[in-house]
Amino acid sequence: MVRVGLVGLGKMGISHFSIVNSHPDAETHVCDASGLVLDVVGRYTSAPVWRDYDEMLEKADLQAVIIATPSQLHGPMARKALERGLHVFCEKPFCLDWREAEDLARLAEEKGLANQVGYHYRYVGAFQEMKRLVDAGAIGEVTHVLAEAYGPVVLKPKGATWRTDRAAGGGCLYDYAAHPVNLVNWCFGLPAQVTGTILNSIYSEATDDEVYSTYAYAGGLSVQVSVNWSDESYRKMSAKMTLTGTKGRIMADRQEIQVYLREAVPDLPGYREGWNVKYTTELSEPVRFYLRGEEYSAQLDDFVAAARGGPRKDLNDFASAAQTDRTISMMIDDSEREKTLAPETVRQAPARRRGWFGRAR
């Protein structure tokens, strides 16, 4: 049995709580600063509840923590847990400062502790298949990648929360773009150069709603990132990778993978010359407990298994997330550079409608 402390009962936190609490080998404690949600959890579930993170760490006799607080709190909370010798699963993005992320990755490895970040797309069957095919050289040398994500998160000017503040780790770049960027890092590592980055607002006052960028890699691979979370034509978040290589092309999203091969690859039975399409029905492994997608349970079950002394999976470990933090930071630096070249091209958020007494609605 592993005693896990979950901190942060927001959208992801509640979902993680449900998944880990249903795990037969885990016992969950819950911590949140807001009294109301915590009250309901305390009253209606069997999980012990804590208002204060430090107090929970001190008194709950935990072996592991799951951190799902606003992004700027991730680093300090993860460090405290690691220093106490606890295994850590943290939501993405990992740290707003990539140096801190690398530090924590080192610390976790030194102490031999399980460390994962919630980049759950690495647990999606179709993207795992994409990675397998790239590594097997199925499409030859990859020359170009288009990494996309679109969805309907911010469709009008809205009130301020941490999610609408870049400084607090909110915005399309940290929330949405981080996922396709993380998939690019998975396949190709850190880019050598980042150029042409546009982080524009469409509605948000203090952060970006659309993200475009170009990466260059040693050897000539180029990547284009195109992300917009203010696109109502998508029902929910849709991330998509298109990889073009000398011997074929791969298109992958959460549901399916479409592969064109110029020639069959001996190591890849089940793929033939020409078009190949595989769906999630074939690519997903069933999980013990399902909530919104196999990937969410699969990543947490790996974490619980590692915390119980099982093998540690490096699929979405701190080091890999630090790479994404660093790429994101390269994008922010680049966009600042671009802005100074032509400040008039930076879109300003429209003013929010004001209600009576000048209070923003």
Binding site: L9, G10, K11, I14, S15, F17, S18, I19, N21, S22, S34, G35, L36, V37, D39, V40, V41, R43, Y44, T45, S46, A47, P152, V153, K158, G159, T161, R163, R235, K236, S238, K240, D253, Q255, E256, Y279, T280, T281, E282, S284, P286, V287, R288, F289, Y290, L291, R292, E294
Partner: protein, 287 residues
Amino acid sequence: MDRLLFGDNQFFGINHMSEEKARAQAMKFQDLSAIIETLDAAYDEGIRTFMCTTHDRVALICDHVRANPGRYEGFKFYPCMPYAHKYANAVTDYGMIGAVTHFMPDEGLLKTAIKGGMSLARKDVEGLATILVDMEMKMFRGLETPVVFLQNVVVDLLLGMGMKDSFRIFHDYVREKYDAEPGFITMNLPMLLDTLDELGIENPIVCANINKIGFRLSGGVEGYLETLKKRRVRAIAMSVFASGAIPAKEAIDWIAAQEGIESIVFGASSRKNIRDTKMLTDAAYAA
């Protein structure tokens, strides 16, 4: 319950196989008239139950059915609530507390208390849950709703959290206020049935993925079949074709051979597919 229930995923661009297909369906059913045409086809093929979310556009379908009672004699709705995206987006917008108060009708005492961050008594939480059910049921006023479902994202979230009492609250309220049978949609059938059993909810109506290849049957096919055999349960199978991965006849014949499955909910965009499914089902159960 009827053997065949008509679902609504296809009307709202939901397809678990392909985003391209989902988009094509969203385009096809952009106009209400296309949805009504398909529902009419289902009705004319003998299907009498529409199992639907509480999507805003379902309110328009309800208006249409209310306005044409002669055309839809015996037509029933099985509402499935809440429409999760509505709430998920609200949580992103307003935070957890803000989202709850956002959907509450007026500035009642309870809403004021929640906004003020007051600690909630047990009766307040129950009151809140029933207010949310009422909000979702509004669009069905005057229509037949013999079964009212709690959606799987909510059921499974609560199930994992161990908020068992919430199932009892929903169950009792749907019976009392709407004189309807409560139903539960889940992706975790064995676990849910254990929990309902513990709560003393007998012979419950549940809807879950049930298909031959075990697609999204948490824990695997065997556990599902065993549960269906051993428990008294009125099960509705969804995703019986596993998004098209199983040929239609094979899929339905397999369902018909299992114990404990009372109905199948399916989606289709064309009259031909509706008719084929109806014929295959009739044949499988006649055999």
